[in-house]
């Protein structure tokens, strides 16, 4: 106490809240963070100046990006605007994620409820989980080439990347669903036994509502990783998508556009996470 009172008059205290108000702090501090990033970026850009490969400065990046951003909604084949490139990636993630959820949730319930299913499948899950999803890409390409020879080009082209997203999204949702089922309190099972509830009521009135928060947590993790992986997968498969764009612009030396797409990828990832959070809130809002 005495120590604090001795020190405080010596240090002039800068109270940001007093100057700009409570919300002002929420704007100024993030702006300061961004400013620090730009400074570091500028310094590194300065250091690479004149070398064989150069990192464009923030200003350079902005100047190079403006014309491209004016082309935002372009649908020209081979020269799609960044909006459509992102949309392609999002569609692949959406399809792969949806397939994964359709597989993972029932399997998770099975593993959570049946001791035998758990013994049979958990070793596979434990081995499958640590495999980098990208390592599945060759398998995806081989299988889709073999099976989809007569399929439309559109389907055959997208299958390997979607396959990788399915594998990526599978594990967190599967594991969390199984955990959710296992975490149903014994009290609820006792209630279901005492009330002699039918199998369908046990599932709809006890198991699903009790497990849902876990399923959502798993889905949120899955979607986050899927967005990380689609960029890498598209860098390898090529064709379209924001990941392809990163690799393509790198190869043509348009580093400013690489940096632009990094920002786009980050912002889209953030929005995806917020989107699931909103759905989660809507789903559980009425339960509380």
């Amino acid at each position: 106490m005495s120590l604090a009172s001795q020190q405080s008059p010596a240090k002039p205290k800068i109270d940001i809240q007093k100057i700009v108000g409570r919300n002002g702090e929420n704007i100024i501090l993030p702006a300061l963070g961004l400013f620090a990033l730009i400074i570091v970026w500028s310094i590194i850009a300065k250091m690479t100046e004149g070398g064989i490969s150069q990192l464009p400065s923030p200003i350079q990046t902005f100047q190079d990006s403006v014309p491209y951003l004016q082309n935002f909604f372009s649908t020209t084949q081979g020269d799609e605007g960044i909006f459509f490139l992102t949309l392609y990636s999002l569609l692949r993630v959406a399809v792969g994620f949806a397939i994964a959820v359709i597989i993972a949730v029932p399997l998770g319930f099975l593993i959570g409820t049946s001791e035998k299913a758990q013994k049979m499948l958990m070793p596979l899950v434990q081995i499958g989980k640590p495999i980098s999803p990208l390592a599945w890409l060759p398998v995806g390409i081989v299988v889709s080439t073999a099976l989809l020879t007569d399929a439309p080009r559109m389907v055959a082209q997208n299958t390997p990347a979607i396959f990788v997203i399915v594998v990526t999204s599978l594990w967190p949702t599967l594991i969390n669903t199984a955990l959710g089922v296992k975490s149903i309190p014994q009290d609820y099972w006792n209630v279901s036994k005492v009330l002699n509830l039918s199998r369908s009521k046990v599932v709809t009135k006890i198991m699903i509502p009790s497990t849902l928060p876990y399923v959502f947590a798993g889905m949120r993790l899955s979607l986050g990783i899927a967005w990380l992986v689609i960029v890498a997968a598209e860098m390898l498969t090529g064709g379209t998508g924001i990941g392809f764009f990163v690799w393509d612009t790198y190869n043509t030396g348009e580093i400013s556009l690489v940096i632009l797409s990094l920002f786009v990828i980050g912002i889209v990832g953030l929005l995806l996470d917020q989107f699931v959070a909103v759905i989660e809130h809507l789903a559980f809002g009425k339960n509380n």
């Binding site: 005492v194 039918s198 009135k205």
Partner: protein, 276 residues
Amino acid sequence: MQALNPELLQSNSTQTDAFLAIDNVSKVYPTPKGDYTVLENVNLTISEGEFVCLIGHSGCGKSTLLNMVSGLNKPTMGEVRLKNQRITKPGPDRMVVFQNYSLLPWLTVYENVYLGVDEVFAHKTPQDKKEITEEHLELVGLTEAAQKKPPQISGGMKQRVAIARALATRPEALILDEPFGALDPITREELQEELLKIWQAHKITVFMITHDIDEALFLSDRLVMMTNGPSATIGEVLDIPFPRPRDRRVIAEDPRYYELRNEALDFLFRRFAHEE
């Protein structure tokens, strides 16, 4: 341990027309270190319409015994019978009120009660089932809270819902596992009195675990006291002779109240004091 009060146990277990009979029940759990006997040779008979309280130190197997009556657990030896039918699984004739309420938090108060009604009276019309649910919510004074969810109501109200849920399926026996243990003293007394009213109106048989000697003396016809585990069994059964309907204040002035209370205290804290 079986030698304790042999005449009392004998007189009870010889009744053949017992409503609920716990017949020579033992419960043994196998462990890596060998068998662990929780309960050994438990004998008790309960008449129809009787209110029996069970008291004992924690870990003595009270809940295990209760679960064998509700059918959630099975005896290793011996059997439990309701009206001469061996109990092997839970059934709508025996409803349980758990200590921690065990309501489903995503369903409303009404839906929690309706869930059991819908299952047990599957053949009835939705209108009938609705009436049964509403009738039992009214019985415990929760008509107004029907559309609320468990997280929005107090502990006392939650336990009222649990009682309504149990009674709504019209069981013959009501089994309560320390139902009022988590409630504040005033709410506890209120609910004790409501439980007595319901018991008298429904002519239901009640088997209830409690930790509270005064609660047992106020509520029960007989107080069953258990010895400590392992191999716990019934040590002594006290008959509670106070006339009904009971008034807490009148009972408190009865000299027998203190004799019984001292007897129970002596059993629990001197003869079978908990080691820990």
